[in-house]
Subunit: 354 residues, 3 copies
């Protein structure tokens, strides 16, 4: 079993490999194209008019139809996986995620991450790594900026624990920091009929609950194709042979897949929430597997003005996705315990025309 | 279970919501791209040279390779679903469907429908809605025009029945109304070898039967991806959880999926029928589900000249698709009863070079 | 059962239909686009930076990101199937396959084949056909040139055997004949970090073995979509109804699918082997079916200079793919017998920057 080249494969980083303040330039820059848009469309089926039609987008102020915000997120996220989460035990959370510039077909995305926190666990077998990751386009502009933290395995329990640093993270992005990726919208030119919803910013109020009604069953081929589209290599999504002997017994679906399904389902009731401006936090509450059917509902947490803008307002939304449970009853959390069907609890800001 | 925002989701229209003469502008304009062409190619595998190669298409008279005619049909059809058939009980038929202008990657399609007929059923629980739907490109030109009728549920049985109007519909589009979407073809430049068939218009005669030989098994991931590509949201195609408790026990495949499979299979024997100029009628005879294998055969019903054109002729074709039954025996109809394996009976005009 | 048009379908060629020296122009020219690139990306997940990013590719010397070499191979191969292998009993081998020119989105590929060998088998029921196939772009330049041989059924055992001609084929392409599809690479501009590997040509030596670690489970929808993307019509890949009664009991996955999976997996350990310059030989050792998980490992057979070039070197690689068996133990061949898990044994040259 002679393998003189073992070192040429990527073992990923273990907890003790990370250093506070370390900056990582991720591999695999990616030119995103109309092809990627079509594959994403086929897997998730979004109907937001801005991303669907060049004509609609231009009419209201975009250069052309921009890429779906979550597609941009997943492509950038995918680039961080080989360096940040190859040896992750669990993806714990997100915060302070802002979409900063529209991304159009033909743009080339690359990513970096900065280690902003480290905290070894008491059991000394794992530790939490906090990173701020950024996606850039080919001009060098930052298009996306977010914080994520993951529980990463240690290679060697005896490796000394780093000084504990846990970053202060906002519970939500402030409205003043929203909207960089949304041009000034010509609201008179924004056609509600073509958009598919008569409800604009002023029609929503905090406390509103919206059941998005439809359910969509996930297939293995679909989630694998989406995850590979993002060049996200995490093995647990692809390898049934190994997964069948593991914790779940089957391939685990990338948490971002449920985010995109829920976002697409949310069109029904939030059809004019055309831009995800920021993600405040997200929790993958329970695992998702092929064969299960995803449903979703949303609650409006807040309605905010964007200082200096009168074209759009921001809705702070909490979208919950479930597996095999329609959301007529708005399944959620009681105390600390989620309804057993909940798979995703996502807190984000979406912009709507006034 | 407080839901103050229930009204924001789309319940679709019920039979009593339609009015004769009503015009509906559908939502979700869509820029169709080379990405959509590739996804469609991957799901159906068509080999018609005109849509496959820009060089071939330009050589014979197109600006570049146009989109597959049925891809255009499905994208336009998908836009009508939220308004016309969300509460449909059955899709009853099509007529007078004409392809009017080539659609190229980069075009933006939108759709409208006019209610041209209404007939409540005796049971007062449902009614038939007849609509003429049109697809437009970004210049405002009509690219597709067809009539469809569906059985739609009533919200309230007691709602008064509208005056009965059943439109007169042609059994077939007249040859004189064919060919607007087909430029003058340079038949000398049309290379049979590259096209994959030595048989041109004059080689077919009424009565010819062609078994297309190959079968293709459908997977859930495929039909869902195709249907989402068209932004067709009908729930029964996507939601196994709900379907498992319903009439079929599983997800029903969009009827148009069988049309596209049959059209792709028909290349074997009709390789030079490069353009679907019109659909005279179509019947989804039996439901199609994943795991079944689709076969197809065609009969030439008529061979017609296009007045004023000598480049192409029109074949009126009847293509029958089956599930799990090769078509060596040309399974069809005896009296009013179809062979149990038949899933689709499609009557259309295709153009062939002379 | 009147079928006057039976002759219009393509029965494919049988062994006795081929003539030595015969040249076949294949059908179905195909414009390859960014859409095809995205679908291929979604099915195989390659991470080589050159094909992933226009910026990276241009920086080192390409016009833009070229298509994945194996995608070009499969598209060309697909065009030969209706003429060469519709009645094939087995795909026996490849040799002398060279990639000659970069192919970019927007190119139109067509193919020809020349019969360079014929050998009827002693049983008189089959014979081996050797063809040299070439892929061309729209300028008429040859982009790909390879030899393949298949065992083809005879229509009529009594048909006379042709004179036996077995071509002399090189065991491997000589290094001097490599690299036409690879522009002069600016190795200083080639960024290892963005490429995802610190190992360049000089870091490998003959005998090195690299386990590529990850496994990927194949789904029917995926392999059918890929094979249809290439317009490869071989029925055994698509028709479960017929296959269920046949030799394997299920759909056989196109051998090229395993090649592309293995190539994508090989990124881990060979991340800078950015261009497949030639394929020396390939054997589909055992069939692959959906539900199985593909693993791969590679051995460096040789490291060669390209005469007159100092930018890149060529690694002769042997990549072995397995089903349901991780490659930590480098499963291979003992004498003439392969490990039961081996599905593919591929011998090729890949270029790496110095």
């Amino acid at each position: 079993m002679s393998n003189t080249a073992a070192s040429k494969t990527n073992p990923g980083n273990f907890f003790e490999d990370f250093r506070l303040g370390q900056t990582i330039r991720h591999a695999t820059p990616r030119t995103v194209t109309a092809g990627d848009v079509a594959v994403y469309q086929a897997i998730f089926g979004p109907r937001f008019a801005v991303q669907s039609s060049d004509v609609f987008a231009k009419k209201i102020g975009y250069r052309q139809a921009p890429l779906d915000d979550l597609l941009v997120f997943h492509v950038v996220f995918g680039k961080t996986v080989p360096d940040i989460s190859l040896n992750a035990v669990a993806n714990l959370g997100y915060a302070d995620c802002r979409f900063l510039k529209p991304v159009y077909p033909g743009a080339t995305l690359s990513a970096t991450s900065e280690v902003i926190g480290l905290r070894e666990n008491a059991n000394r077998k794992t530790g939490i790594v906090y990173v701020r990751s950024r996606g850039f386009d080919e001009t060098g502009d930052c298009v996306l900026d977010y914080v994520r933290w993951v529980m990463v395995a240690k290679r060697d329990e005896a490796a000394p624990a780093p000084p504990e640093t846990v970053p202060q993270l906002p519970k939500a992005v402030e409205p003043a920091r929203l909207g960089s990726a949304c041009p000034r919208i010509d609201t008179a030119a924004y056609d509600n009929v073509l958009a598919g919803s008569a409800h604009r910013f002023g029609d929503y109020k905090p406390g509103d609950k919206i059941d998005h009604v439809a359910g969509v069953t996930v297939e293995d081929a679909e989630h694998m194709m989406a995850t590979r589209l993002y060049q996200n290599t995490a093995r647990i999504h692809f390898d049934h042979f190994t997964a069948s002997q593991g914790r779940f017994g089957k391939r685990l679906i990338y948490g971002g897949h449920a985010m995109s399904l829920a976002r697409a389902l949310s069109f029904n009731g939030l059809g004019n929430a055309f831009h995800v401006a920021a993600i405040n936090g997200g929790r993958h509450v329970a695992p998702l597997f092929a064969g299960l059917t995803v449903f979703a509902w949303s609650q409006v947490l807040a309605c905010a003005d964007l200082p200096g803008r009168s074209d759009v307002g921001a809705l702070r939304l909490r979208t919950i996705a479930t597996k095999d449970k329609p959301c007529t009853g708005f399944p959620s959390k009681t105390g600390e315990d989620y309804d057993a069907a909940v798979i995703l609890d996502l807190d984000y800001w979406a912009l709507m025309p006034r």
